[in-house]
Symmetry: C2
Amino acid sequence: MQLDQATAEKLQQWERDLNAEYEQLQSRSLNLDLTRGKPSAEQLSLSNAMDGILAGDYTSADGTDTRNYGGIDGIKEMKRLGAEILQVDDGEVLVGGNSSLTLMFQAVLHAYLFGFDGPQSAWSRQQPVQFVCPVPGYDRHFAICEQLGIEMLTVPMTAAGPDMDALENLVRNDPAIKGLWCVPKYSNPTGAVYSAAVVERIAGLGRIAGAGFRVFWDNAYAVHDLGDTPAALASIMDCCRKQGTEDSVIQFASTSKITFAGAGVAFMAASAANLNAFKGSLGIATIGPDKVNQLRHARLFPSLAALHDHMRKHAQIIKPRFACVLDQLEAAFGHCDLGRWESGSGGYFISFSTRPGLAAEVVRLAAAAGVKLTPAGATFPYGRDPDDSNIRIAPTVPNVAELDTAMQVFVICVKLASVRQAIATRQ
Amino acid sequence: MQLDQATAEKLQQWERDLNAEYEQLQSRSLNLDLTRGKPSAEQLSLSNAMDGILAGDYTSADGTDTRNYGGIDGIKEMKRLGAEILQVDDGEVLVGGNSSLTLMFQAVLHAYLFGFDGPQSAWSRQQPVQFVCPVPGYDRHFAICEQLGIEMLTVPMTAAGPDMDALENLVRNDPAIKGLWCVPKYSNPTGAVYSAAVVERIAGLGRIAGAGFRVFWDNAYAVHDLGDTPAALASIMDCCRKQGTEDSVIQFASTSKITFAGAGVAFMAASAANLNAFKGSLGIATIGPDKVNQLRHARLFPSLAALHDHMRKHAQIIKPRFACVLDQLEAAFGHCDLGRWESGSGGYFISFSTRPGLAAEVVRLAAAAGVKLTPAGATFPYGRDPDDSNIRIAPTVPNVAELDTAMQVFVICVKLASVRQAIATRQ
């Protein structure tokens, strides 16, 4: 479909045909959901052995009774696993509860209200407080900023990570910038993996930024590879050590998409100074994380190798789902300019871009035909995509047959919206 | 030992004898801990069936797959249990993660930073922000206030709850007072149970307090009875409904001292308006609590009766420990004025008061003899007991033999400190 070369009659003809197809799909009363990055039931079942895995032994390797209070930073064997996932030293890891999002909120809150370098360093003492968000990005990151009244600036994502020239320029010239959100591996939603050069430059931001600047490094998909040769991500902490910026980066990860999405274990990694400051405020809000659940995870994954084996089973389940989406996109839009898409060799999303001004309309059309998509704009701060173009596709929950149907709907919706726009533009 | 009637020679004699006893105990290199309200290993083992209890079935009663994301306010069967524990409607309960302290911190933070009645109602917009704390009370409550810069005023605890005349007087005349901490049943540390009249009057505070006032009702020991006839606590939500003050009270409870201290389930109960506002900010910081652990609890406690059966087993374990402490206190101080103590028919603590000016010295002496006590002052805001008199005794962790030894040390330390003070006063 080459809209710009088509005659007015041809456009009208397409619109009628697409409309008929759309109405036919609508009549099927579909109820499909491509909105959130959730594991499928099949994936969750890979970890069902978690129930009963302790066999009555609730004692961690160092003799801690995990059932009782205490241990604000988690059990040792899980610190080890977190350190391996995030490529840091064991002592740089704090193991939390079931949600890395909670650790992120608490870390941002700590910096905002209490200060990583004492009360005087609390961001809230100076206004405005700003963050840089590479876009498209993750809506829950943006929501934390919005909740705390932190202003968000954007830089574009490239296939190798954020546009570093633009990012460095902002950070160097604006001391109100206190933070940066990153999903460095299989980025949400584009799937990009930050190149070694980008990681190196992000580790250097601490040297050109204003006081109190922190990178929030959400390595949510650190081990979530789909291909046989996992993408390599440079260790940002190693890069920081070389540049003396260890305090400028706070890392996060979790087992939410490894074991159970709602009952996994979250990790935070940071310098000793950052961890100590953080534990100071964390210890006001809790006596400690659920160490029993940490122990279950340690028993399920006695080594990083065991965890990688487990992740290969996840890949076997979700690879065909990604392939289904990508095949349909290629077939429909591979030879025309109605859409572009990005996808990595891991992670949970495919990022699709319509022609400018059509994302909201495509989401509306799909919803009316029973296919839920992430709201247009969600991948931008304040829910505002300036081009109204980006749509995040999450292919893991539906099975391949359902996905196939959902993507038929999606393709028709993109085409229909595009043809209608072309007709309107001609008039 | 009647110090005030004793001759100077008699006091000197006592001091020599006690010193000898103390040094003899010191030579035993004891290492005993009466500091925190933790369950003993024996108590924790009552819930060991939790591991494996799901038998592969991770689905809650309404068909929710507890393994996946979602459900910010928890699973239905646990809302039911929380509602029964806190004497409210199911719809008034939110079921959280492993820590009611976290829910308390989040609720206070919500009121302070975001506002239960919209951003304009955030306490932080006016300074100072003040709380009233009945004393002696719980150090972790005070720490939340201190962390947020909330000033603490005190009112005395009586055997029937806070001194209500003093409390109402403060709340009526000082609009900066935004909160009140309460442990209404088996209060920490005195063991007092709030009378029906006190509960009624606390429910009425919302009518005389300034805007945004909230009672933080930490019903930590709601089902933690030691005796066969549990103390009755009036339902504060029922009292609020009668007075139209439903929005003025936020309740908390947890299974930390029912199942596993570090891996239990926390509850919050509040009016629909409060819960909705709270969920707004909670949903920024988490996608949801650990529903799998909630389901484990629901399976262990299919009814409130099952939970009460379970609590009777706890009572069998800890009742002799409380008795050991109380017997020693009675034997040593029942017929003199060296100490007073309070203890309820449930809960986790015994509250002991030395003669004024001696608590810190007793704690120091005991520590030097290998018996750790909660720091003197901990039961008062800012760690400052104006009389330097109150010591909280937590008897659940040591076994009876250990407790017996620890209490021998405690008694000697109280006597020794008292005699030395009496000698110093005479000089």
